[in-house]
């Protein structure tokens, strides 16, 4: 797909310009799929020339990463001056590459993180699924308990999510562990009494 063009979803080829913002569905010339394209001004946006400008005068602020380049903005996270090349715009905010990288790895940064492991669902599955083959609960119940305790304070998802799965998983896994303890106690205790 070339720049300023929109491709057909079925065949992947660029569609003619008259398809853009057409009031009805039109058939793709190549594969006949019925398409409707809603295009926005960004499709024909001019390149804003992100090449950084060199410093002109000695008193001018320069980029933290490129001292020879003129600073145009400060990082909203660390405050370093950045040139047009180093400025990463995320919505309304400006970040430097370093803050962007560390923010992606930090689980609490909601606006930058792009991946989360759902430990609460994992713990709940470990607590419930092996009930059908109950001997497995000897291993899965402690694992579920560990996951609940280890990740209780960690943010779960980038979207609103309660900790009810953690609570349910904890209760079920605790019941399983208690069941195993009782089983071992009643299986072993009579022998001790005999001896």
């Amino acid at each position: 797909m070339s720049q300023g063009q929109v491709a057909c979803l079925e065949c992947g080829r660029d569609v003619p310009a008259d398809f853009v913002n057409a009031p009805e569905f039109l058939a793709c010339p190549t594969c006949n799929s019925l398409l409707r394209i809603f295009a926005f001004p960004a499709l024909h946006r001019a390149e804003n020339g992100s090449a950084a400008r060199p410093t002109i005068e000695a008193g001018e602020a320069s980029c933290f990463y490129h001292p020879q380049k003129q600073a145009v903005v400060a990082c909203d996270s660390c405050g370093r001056f950045l040139c047009a090349l180093c400025d990463v715009e995320i919505g309304e905010s400006h970040r430097c590459p370093g803050c962007l990288d560390s923010g992606k790895r930090k689980p609490s940064a909601n606006s930058l993180g792009n991946r989360r492991v759902l430990y609460d669902s994992l713990a709940l599955t470990l607590a419930i699924a092996p009930i059908l083959i109950w001997p497995f609960t000897l291993f899965t119940a402690p694992t579920a308990l560990y996951l609940v305790i280890r990740h209780w304070r960690q943010p779960l998802s980038g979207l609103p999510r309660t900790r009810i799965r953690f609570v349910v998983a904890f209760l079920i896994a605790l019941a399983q562990v208690c069941g195993w303890a009782a089983l071992i106690y009643f299986a072993v205790a009579p022998r001790h009494r005999v001896h």
């Binding site: 797909m1 720049q3 300023g4 929109v6 491709a7 057909c8 979803l9 079925e10 065949c11 992947g12 080829r13 003619p16 310009a17 008259d18 853009v20 569905f25 039109l26 058939a27 793709c28 010339p29 190549t30 594969c31 006949n32 799929s33 019925l34 398409l35 409707r36 394209i37 809603f38 295009a39 926005f40 001004p41 960004a42 499709l43 024909h44 946006r45 001019a46 804003n48 995320i90 919505g91 309304e92 909601n110 606006s111 993180g113 792009n114 991946r115 989360r116 492991v117 759902l118 430990y119 669902s121 994992l122 599955t125 943010p155 998802s157 980038g158 979207l159 609103p160």
Partner: protein, 338 residues
Amino acid sequence: MGSAKIYRRLASAHRFGVGSGGWSTLYLGPDHLLLRSTNAFVETYRRFYFRDIEAITLCKTLRGYLWNGAFGFLLFFFCVAFFYLRGWFSGSAAVILLVALLINLARGPTSRASLQTRVQTRPLPLVRLRSALKLIRMLEEKIAAAQADLPVVETPPLTPRSIPPAPPRMQAIALPPPLSGQTRSARWSWVHLVTFSLLVVGGLLCLSEARQHRPGLFYWALGVVGLNLAWGLAALVRQRFVPLPSPVISIAWINLALHALGIPAVYFAFFIFYAMRAVEATRRQQVPPAQMRLSDLPLMPGYASILFSYALICVTLGAVGYLLMMIYRWKPSQPRAG
């Protein structure tokens, strides 16, 4: 986590696939769209800022009509079966299919959508046309407002003369291959055609077997079922290397799941039942046979109903698959409509 409450859920859809399957949900944020993909226990987020969105493409699909056809076909057969046999199984299956058909009709035609930015094009979970159009109309205002101050390249205005004429058949064939590496035919596979033919033949054989219970027919049906499984695997290998329309791929997967999982599960259930009968025979001090033979299958309770259902599913799948292959085979060569 307080900032997470700013999101409003817009749409959601499930996609099938090994590794790439799972739920995909679209959320509306203050200045961006958030696409959440859930795969097992991992969530992946993609943010599309209104300022960066270049286009949203909507494509009508046949999926809704296919589901209507499949539901209607099965409903008809189960209704006929209910009126002749008066069994609870066919009656309840007919009711469930009727409800499914009505729900599918109420939700309307289906679509696919994708969102394009300068650096990526991502599918959106908008699977129903009506709701997709409604959603895009709502988003249009927000995106237009966010892009109001963008510097735009001057493009020559489109006049009727500047619009290229509809390409005739030969021009469409002479187009260069697509950039995505699809060098072979993207809509045709004889392996799949044989798979769907086998499904229809196997289904018809099983229908006859369900009605007549002849030993010869039983072994023929069994042979075709085995052949279907082997050929279904070949179809999967084929579609791994040749891009095919998604409904055809779905039918190939359903076929394999039916033969690789469904039939062994039914056989296992019969095996358990047989073992229980053997225990019962031992308790009554009768001599049970050592193991279940294939020829004992027709004697099991519910065998005819299960075989009948299996045959119907096979014939439906095969017919729909065959029809799709025919539609997609001739679709590219048609001149552009309108």
